[in-house]
Point group: C2
Chain length 613, copies 2
């Protein structure tokens, strides 16, 4: 009986199969997964930590007891090299155990804006206190700010007040005060006006982009992309919300894991750039409504069930320490408001960063992700929708799918005559799976070669089309050894992509219908998001995600949500603009739209040959 053992590996998003019980480290290495190992599987270096998610009573041996803390053991952390994979498992490899980081685009196209940060530093030379001048410390600083800089302050952060007397007296009455609105949010000894840093975050369902920004110049000093570790509690938004409400402690758990990982990333980013985390004076966070709530640990029951109500449509400024983020002791986290429903502040940030409102003509702005938000700007304003496109383009639910890690097939061309695949992998490594852009290319090329028909069915004979063990037709992308080393796109994968692109196309069609315009009136398509910047834009046309459209009017702008997050970090005016914009954007609920079903059925189709470009 040939039942394969199935191992789902996060955060890579890859499913591997093994035929028989196998040492965990070997299984992972054989599948091309870049897990760290120094001792070569002796159990003495402790580098190959994995977390086993779906098992209780996981065996633990002496080696593991030596290398792991009790807390880790209780959480299901083990050493891959000391485990035998003998049943279906869900495992999570912590970032520290991964040898190669994934390809995470964190930056995007930026336009110049006025630098006008909410936090500003002022260098003060204070008069020394004497028995004749016993002005209290805070009042002394307040008076000096007024006198030297005409800056009015009303209050000082409680924790920062505690730092004040030492900062003053250890530094000969010379300090630098950071003022935010009318509050002193940080004090340092001496002249520290040079170090004025902030963090802009785009908190995606799958990826988190972190930008370290100089608040004075507006320049991005460094950036870092990490996986959203909440993925171990569910791949998509709904499954995470379900996790969060299923048990009382879960909300705290799912919040903590993302806070801890962001803190860890901030620590590394600061260390690398020789900055003290305490010098991070403000943080801005954008994300979809669910990510927003889970980041803040806000209850999500009302967001999980119809009519799907968010807790706040306002921007929120919350002390970082209250959220558990370790930056400057008095720093705030500024959360941009959501627009409505699941159309979150990441979409708002994207609309802001692309200046879509002030551009001429009819424009579509789309940020492709696990949830895909689409905005249509016409002369009547901006209307936005959210589509549950799912994580197929992240490689999930795709037989050989994986995230954009080394070894992932990211480009595919099918030779017109021979139907032979030409593939390119990330890092030119041996292929181990297919990531989103590779999947998109594959489907588009299969359709262009008419190997699949408009309904997505395999429709031609070729030596590259075979049946897999379950009898599904598959197109072989890589086939070194038919039994062992094979990567293909099969019929089920095609259906997954049909559903995903269909969801997006439905959103676009309903937006057009709602605005009363046809697609030929569209002047520009802006594709934002990490995925959106890796794809070949002609292939989004060729799979019918968009109707036929001139390629030169498609703009790939990268992580526009991250750029929007940065904009509100470095500019008060942009905050005001964003908050105004949030109120102006019309939200269109797709699922209750009367034409939703009709549009959705049509949108699953692939284009006719004459529409392929």
């Amino acid at each position: 009986m040939d039942k394969k053992i199935k191992i789902d590996v996060e955060p890579i998003g890859k499913r591997i199969y093994i035929k028989k019980p196998t040492n965990g480290l070997n299984a992972l290495v054989d599948a091309g997964i870049g897990i760290k190992t120094v001792c070569g599987g002796e159990g003495t270096c402790g580098k190959c930590r994995i977390m086993i998610l779906n098992q209780k009573d996981i065996p633990v041996n002496e080696q593991e007891k030596n290398m792991l803390t009790e807390d880790e053991i209780n959480k299901g952390v083990r050493l891959a090299c000391q485990q035998v994979f003998d049943k279906d498992l869900d495992i999570y490899i912590p970032a520290a155990s991964l040898s190669e980081e994934q390809k995470l685009q964190v930056v995007g196209e930026e336009r110049e804006i006025e630098i006008d940060p909410i936090c500003n530093k002022y260098h003060l030379k204070l008069e020394k206190a004497t028995l004749e001048d016993t002005t209290p410390d805070f009042d002394r600083v307040k008076n000096a700010l007024k006198k030297d800089y005409s800056v009015d302050v009303e209050t000082i952060d409680y924790n920062v007040l505690k730092l004040l007397p030492k900062a003053i007296r250890d530094n000969k009455w010379e300090i630098t005060a950071t003022v935010r609105d009318k509050e002193i949010v940080y004090v340092e000894g001496g002249d520290k006006t040079g170090g004025n840093y902030g963090i802009a975050i785009d908190l995606g369902t799958t990826k988190i982009a972190i930008l370290l920004v100089d608040l004075k110049t507006g320049k991005t000093i460094d950036s870092k992309g990490i996986m959203n570790p909440q993925i171990s509690y569910g791949e998509d938004v709904m499954s995470r919300l379900n996790f969060a409400i299923s048990e009382e402690k879960n909300l705290e758990k799912i919040q903590k894991v993302v806070i801890d990982n962001i803190n860890e990333a901030l620590k590394k980013l600061c260390k690398k750039n020789k900055i003290d985390c305490k010098e991070l004076l403000e943080m801005t966070v954008v994300g979809n409504t669910a990510m927003h709530h889970l980041f803040l640990g806000l209850p999500v029951r009302q967001l999980s069930f119809s009519p799907f109500i968010a807790l706040s449509g306002q921007s929120l400024s919350i002390k970082a320490r209250e959220v558990g983020i370790n930056i400057s002791p008095g720093a705030y986290i500024y959360m941009l408001p959501s627009i409505a429903g699941y159309v979150g502040s990441d979409h708002l940030a994207m609309l802001l960063a692309t200046d879509i409102e002030s551009q001429e003509g009819n424009i579509i702005g789309i940020d492709i992700g696990t949830n895909t938000e689409i905005g249509l700007k016409t002369k009547d304003g901006i209307t936005s929708v959210s589509t549950a496109s799912g994580p197929a383009f992240e490689g999930a639910h795709i037989n050989y799918g994986m995230r954009a890690a080394p070894g992932a097939i990211e480009r595919v061309v099918i030779e017109p005559e021979s139907y032979k695949p030409i593939i390119q992998t990330i890092g030119d490594k041996k292929p181990v799976g297919i990531c989103g852009s590779g999947i998109l290319d594959s489907i588009a090329e299969l359709r262009k070669a008419e190997l699949i028909n408009t309904r997505g069915k395999f429709d031609k004979e070729s030596k590259f089309i075979t049946k897999d063990s379950q009898g599904n037709s598959q197109y072989l992308l890589y086939n070194k050894d038919e039994n062992e080393d094979l990567i293909s796109i099969n019929q089920k994968d095609i259906v997954e992509i049909q559903l995903a692109k269909g969801a997006m196309r439905t959103g676009i069609d309903i937006l057009m219908d709602n605005a009363g315009i046809t697609f030929d009136k569209i002047d520009k398509i802006i594709i934002a998001g990490a995925f959106g910047s890796y794809i070949d834009p002609k292939n989004v046309i060729n799979i019918g995600m968009f109707p036929s459209f001139p390629i030169n009017k498609i703009y790939q702008v990268g992580n526009a949500a991250g750029v929007g997050s940065k904009r509100v970090l470095i500019s008060k005016k942009q905050r005001i603009n964003a908050e105004k914009l949030a109120k102006k954007v019309d939200y269109l609920e797709l699922t209750t739209h009367p034409k939703f079903s009709d549009f959705f059925v049509n949108s699953m189709q692939f284009p006719e040959p004459e529409r392929i470009i």
Copy 2:
């Protein structure tokens, strides 16, 4: 095996457990037992006497031999601070060593003011959310507040935001929102506009007065006085400041003990009045500058050394949860500003509560305590001084001194002919010591009887005047058994009182001198504070604390600082008035005043016979 050590403490009736052998004083203090200590565990004040009941051969060290009589040692009396609790013990704490169960006046004379609290509750019947109306929860509440009550809010407390969805949905979309300035600081299900409570605290060096107030009616529902447990770290302000700066962890320790005790008292007060602590929507705290800093855990090094600088001269609104006070989750603590130096917000509150500013004539306002603040109001305004009068009137540094606990001698009259003392004790118990008012009476009566001269020396023969074992003259107040059961006032006690009253008189004299008026121009003396309301006003004249003055122009108003704290709890206008007043009051530093020494030497004198009333 981990067997705990069990200590039964009488007369409290409390059993405490310790995990490992522990210093006796620390064990008792950590268990929240109000045992006295002046020296902070050095074994030099002898206040922390305990009797060990169930042991023989109890170790006794040199310190104890110095402080205790042989008889005491034989009876099992020891100093808690010199003992290690290392086995199960039954101990008894003599009343004289207990700082609890004392007579604590917490209320004061009140004048009617307009009720205008900063926190107000609004009952809202919200429209239920639907797919057609997906307004977020906070926005929905905000809109309803505007529509139903014309109340503008801008923000909601982070912790309260977390409570919002459940409060709404568990109560059929009917809630009560509490608004403070433009912030929602609490939400409850249903109509809770009836329960609108706040806490006003007067945080004294020795005593803490806690008032439970109905914010809607302005009525004091209940009140409670507790000892300031920081007393275990030092009796007076300076020794506590020294403790706080002597080791890194000490500031946190000395803050924690007062926070814990206040939380405990609040819990009891709420339970008794059937109120949930979460319904306490605001707290106001007044206290001298050192108490203010130690309550908030603010650094005090700069306050401990010349030029004695406070951290803030502004009022502060700080989230109660950040200070560790367990009241409503989004509640603030409002700290009235200090005036200057050690003239704290308790003095400001007293000035506010007595409406001294708006009264006609020249008025002295004095709050007698461990630190005594005196304000002089003339047509030119108010000037205030702080005098380190010390804790003698609290019974400290007085041979048989104790606090106003049962058994304390509180009234003394000396028969003119026989010089026989007539005493009255608190609770009519067997005398165990003398409290402040008894000490004041004793000295005044000794002077009136001319048993002591103007320099305070014993000057007459009497069978009630004897020599103690050290050869000091003493006047016998109680003398059941000369060796065992004796209470007296000795020469050293008289010097302590001379120093204390001299400090106050110096303050008054310098204030008069500074204002350029003589004492006969004074129209009124207001004596505030718990001690001030127990004393016989003629005796403050008779010991020369004040110059001769008509008794009927002396007003004893009780805990005016507590009344001031309450005023700013129930009225925004009073906050504004108080903050303005703080800036208007002139502070006069006594110690650097050129005439300080001259005045001080004179002020030590007791009055001539013709000035005794």
